[in-house]
């Protein structure tokens, strides 16, 4: 029998694309509707914001208006991130060939420290300031939303890919056998599979977005004549301004409001969504309008699929008799689980053919060069002069030295983070009472974006020592502390998750054979957390690099040499040199992150299989 394959395929593809577009349009439109509502709220809430809050931006009464502005920025960026994640994720998961390029490219993108991108995006969008007139507020807003987007986009994309990859073969085969293709396949199989992953990864995405807020709402580049000012009303600016005035009270007030908003969003949006995703309610997807037999078999298949995904979670909760897993909220555990899911990606990436890897690196370098050209054109400079200036001004040796200095700060912070979180993780696992006490504290602690602590550290550790000989020491201390705050929570929650995940029968066997105390910790708990420590370490180093960028440079008279302060200083030194320097340091950073991931963590991850419990 002749099968009109090409035409069929074409039809499927076109209808899939069509449905994807219509689905994205729906999301987009609802995003716009949401923004419109929020904008209306701004008008209502901030009638007084403009005149009064411009004169006195630190007035606590302006806080609600600031909160709405910040949240609006986040929401718009999130809608774009979601659309990107679905498009990129579905393209990666649906086409094997495309995944060879898209997957390693995504891995490179997520290795770029987001805070390092801040000057690049502002330079491209805003150009060099004229000194007196600040850039139009709309441009500032656009730049800010793009930045938040870059912080939000990667986790949901990995989530979409993980969700599609997790669809069992029998479901795919059943769908195929019953003629579910194109749109129906997308809506009835792909989107339900993606929904829970999207929820967990969105939690991470919003965490990344919050991380930027204290940094990107109030910034300046360049020296006074050619200075570019970024000044956007929002909670982040409130904290930054309070820090500039060295007003500890107001800075703390802003920080508490920020944490309050973060916790409120977490409880009001992500927790209910997480619970919903946990139950796998597929009502959002319309029931298939097909014959009864088709419907029942597919629905039954989906239900089986649900059971399979949910039952490990249920078993986990059932077997939890000794440890206070109930204290950890569902969302927290799911977060850890989600993060563990991402463990598969490094393994997949190593299996990617060389051409895919080369092509993805080429695309990335191409994008960087494109960005460089755009930046330089917008600043009317020539590339050659910039590069030759870089060559004469900064030697490769200097770049290596500052990279090593920054790395040593990261290593110290990592050592501190690992030792205390391992101790705390073990304590939490072994004492229900301690767990009940500490977990909520840690939960709030991790919801504070590390960047928001920056002003506090400046006020407490840097300002009082401005003229003392100890300044160098306190600056290094402040830097390590800030990096620590960017690293520790990833490790802690991964370790707690792992220690809680030790199966009950293993615990009983160790009790029955009287393995206790130090031996229990050494022979059971630490090996059991080994894979989680590795995953936590990859994330912690990502967070650490980000924190590094803001932690090394506080002011012209208060900074320590390193990649972070090199990057920040680039924008304040020779303007002709700035662009090239910013790109150079960003590339060095990304390369270091990629090299460390490949040489250390991924190599160790391959050995970690032995430390996983069998399901």
């Amino acid at each position: 029998m002749h099968v009109p394959r090409p035409s069929l395929r074409k039809r499927v593809a076109s209808s899939l694309a069509g449905r994807t577009v219509s689905f994205l349009t729906k999301i987009f439109l609802s995003g716009i509707a949401a923004v419109a509502i929020v904008a209306l709220m701004i008008e209502l809430l901030t009638g007084g914001l403009t005149p009064n809050c411009q004169r006195n931006p630190l007035d606590p009464l302006c806080i609600p208006g600031y909160a709405v502005r910040t949240l609006t920025r986040m929401t718009i960026a999130y809608v774009f991130a979601l659309a990107f994640a679905l498009a990129y994720g579905i393209a990666t998961a649906m086409s094997h060939r495309a995944s060879h390029v898209l997957l390693p490219l995504l891995d490179i993108f997520q290795s770029v420290p987001v805070l390092g991108v801040v000057p690049v995006v502002f330079l491209i969008i805003l150009g060099t300031g004229t000194g007196t007139t600040p850039p139009p507020e709309l441009n500032q807003e656009v730049a800010s939303i793009i930045l938040i987007f870059t912080a939000m986009a990667w986790a949901p994309t990995f989530g979409v890919i993980a969700g599609i990859n997790a669809i069992p073969t029998d479901i795919k085969e059943a769908a195929h056998a019953y003629g579910m293709r194109g749109t129906r396949y997308l809506r009835q199989i792909v989107l339900p599979a993606v929904f829970p992953e999207l929820v967990w990864s969105s939690i991470l995405a919003w965490g990344g977005g919050w991380y930027l807020i204290p940094v990107e709402e109030h910034l300046s580049f360049g020296q006074p004549p050619n200075q570019t000012q970024v000044d956007l009303p929002g909670i982040g600016r409130y904290i930054a301004l309070a820090a500039l005035k060295a007003d500890l009270g107001l800075a703390l007030f802003g920080l508490i409001v920020l944490v309050g908003i973060i916790l409120a969003v977490d409880r009001l949006i992500w927790k209910p969504l997480g619970v919903r995703a946990e139950k796998y309610k597929y009502e959002t997807v319309a029931a298939p309008r097909t014959t009864a037999t088709r419907q029942s078999s597919v629905v039954a298949g989906v239900r089986r699929y649900e059971d399979r995904l949910v039952s490990p979670v249920l078993t986990f909760f059932k077997s939890e008799r000794y440890y206070a897993a109930r204290v950890l909220e569902i969302t927290r555990l799911k977060r850890i689980r989600h993060i563990t899911e991402r463990l598969r990606f490094p393994e997949r990436i190593t299996r990617i053919p060389l051409w895919g890897r080369l092509l993805s690196y080429t695309i990335f370098i191409g994008l960087v060069i494109l960005g460089l050209i755009v930046t330089i054109i917008s600043r009317s400079q020539s590339i050659e002069s910039g590069i030759s200036l870089l060559a004469t001004d900064v030697t490769a040796f200097e770049l290596v030295v500052i990279t090593v200095l920054s790395l040593s700060r990261l290593v110290i912070a990592y050592a501190i983070a690992l030792s205390w979180t391992l101790g705390a993780g073990i304590l939490i696992a072994r004492s229900q009472r301690l767990s009940r006490l500490l977990v909520p504290i840690f939960d709030i602690g991790q919801s504070i974006p590390a960047t928001a602590l920056f002003p506090l550290v400046v006020i407490l550790l840097v300002d009082p020592f401005k003229n003392s000989p100890y300044l160098g020491f306190t600056l290094n201390l402040a830097s390590v502390l800030l990096i620590l705050t960017g690293m520790q929570w990833y490790l802690l929650f991964n370790i707690v998750g792992a220690v809680n995940g030790v199966p009950n029968d293993i615990l009983e066997a160790t009790t029955a054979y009287r393995i206790r105390g130090r031996r229990f910790v050494k022979e059971i708990l630490i090996p059991a957390s080994f894979p989680a420590i590795l995953i936590g370490s990859i994330q912690a180093w990502g967070g650490g690099w980000n924190a590094l960028i803001v932690s090394e440079y506080i002011g012209p008279n208060a900074n320590v040499p390193g990649l972070g302060s090199f990057l920040v200083q680039a924008s304040t030194r020779n303007p002709a040199l700035a662009t090239v320097e910013i790109y150079a340091s960003l590339l060095v950073m990304t390369a270091t992150v990629l090299i460390i991931n490949r040489l250390v963590w991924r190599r160790l991850l391959r050995k970690a299989d032995r430390y996983k419990f069998e399901a």
Binding site: A509, Y513, I515, E523, Y611, E614
Partner: protein
């Protein structure tokens, strides 16, 4: 008439209640029996608390009331004279076969070389020679349970507790392993006198045991205590066993 022998274990009036919100659940309801040098099986419907009873006997779980006496001394925590075999094997994935077997004796005050010798002997006895440095992941289900058995035997325990040891295995492997376990127990070279095995497989119980204690559905009470005086070695296909099993099944349902 000769004096009756001293019981090795005495289970005295054990009650276990799980407190719940509003109403609590009674799992075990005044269970009492003595264990002598014998192969004892505890059978009952699933969820009746058989495994809880076994955990209480080992000191892994505490009874709400009542006590377990081991040579007239109350048991409150796991004793080195009692070995346990788990349904799910409970092997540590990052330890080798040797490491898993050593786990049970390493807390005893024996020299390192002596420990190694003991572990190696029992690995041989369960037929795992040559697999000492394999990891559990590389073994089949039957081999994993052999590691579990070697680990328990290495303690040279007086009492061996088994919690559904064959129910995670396929039928053929289970049959072989059942025979081997009975042979090991009957071998006078082993110090293990009493075996208590929990199972929901009545056929398995009558085939292996000297005595079967039958528990009712929750809250579990002893509904029967059946002596099985059949010649060993027994054939699992013996029609007498089927009759016995039918009698016990009728008691449960």
């Amino acid at each position: 008439m000769s004096q009756p022998p001293e019981p090795i274990l005495q289970i005295k009036d054990i009650t276990k209640i799980y407190p719940g919100e509003g109403k609590s659940t009674t799992v075990l309801d005044h269970i009492s029996f003595d264990v002598y040098k014998e192969f004892l099986c505890i059978v009952g419907p699933s969820g009746c608390g058989k495994s809880t009873l076994l955990r209480i006997i080992d000191g892994l779980d505490k009874p709400t009331s009542g006590q377990v006496l081991f040579h007239a001394h109350p048991i409150t925590s796991p004793s080195p004279k009692i070995g346990v075999i788990f349904q799910t094997f409970a092997l540590i994935p990052w330890k080798t076969v040797l490491g898993n077997v050593l786990m049970s004796i390493s807390s005893a005050s024996i020299q390192k070389e002596e420990q190694l010798k003991i572990a190696q002997k029992y690995i041989q006895d369960v037929g795992l020679e040559g697999f000492e440095s394999s990891y559990p992941k590389e073994l089949s289900g039957g081999m994993k349970q052999r590691v579990g058995i070697a680990r328990a035997l290495a303690l040279q325990p007086e009492v061996l507790l088994m919690d559904e040891p064959f129910s995670s295995l396929d039928a053929l492997t289970a049959e072989n392993l059942r025979r081997e376990v009975v042979e090991i127990w009957r071998d006078p070279a082993y110090p293990t006198g009493s075996v208590i095995m929990v199972t929901h497989n009545v056929q398995e119980a009558v085939e292996m045991a000297d005595r079967v204690i039958v528990l009712s559905a929750r809250p579990a009470k002893i509904v029967d205590d059946v002596k099985i005086d059949l010649e060993r070695p027994r054939s699992p296909r013996d029609p007498t066993l089927y009759d016995l099993a039918d009698r016990i099944i009728s008691k449960i349902s």
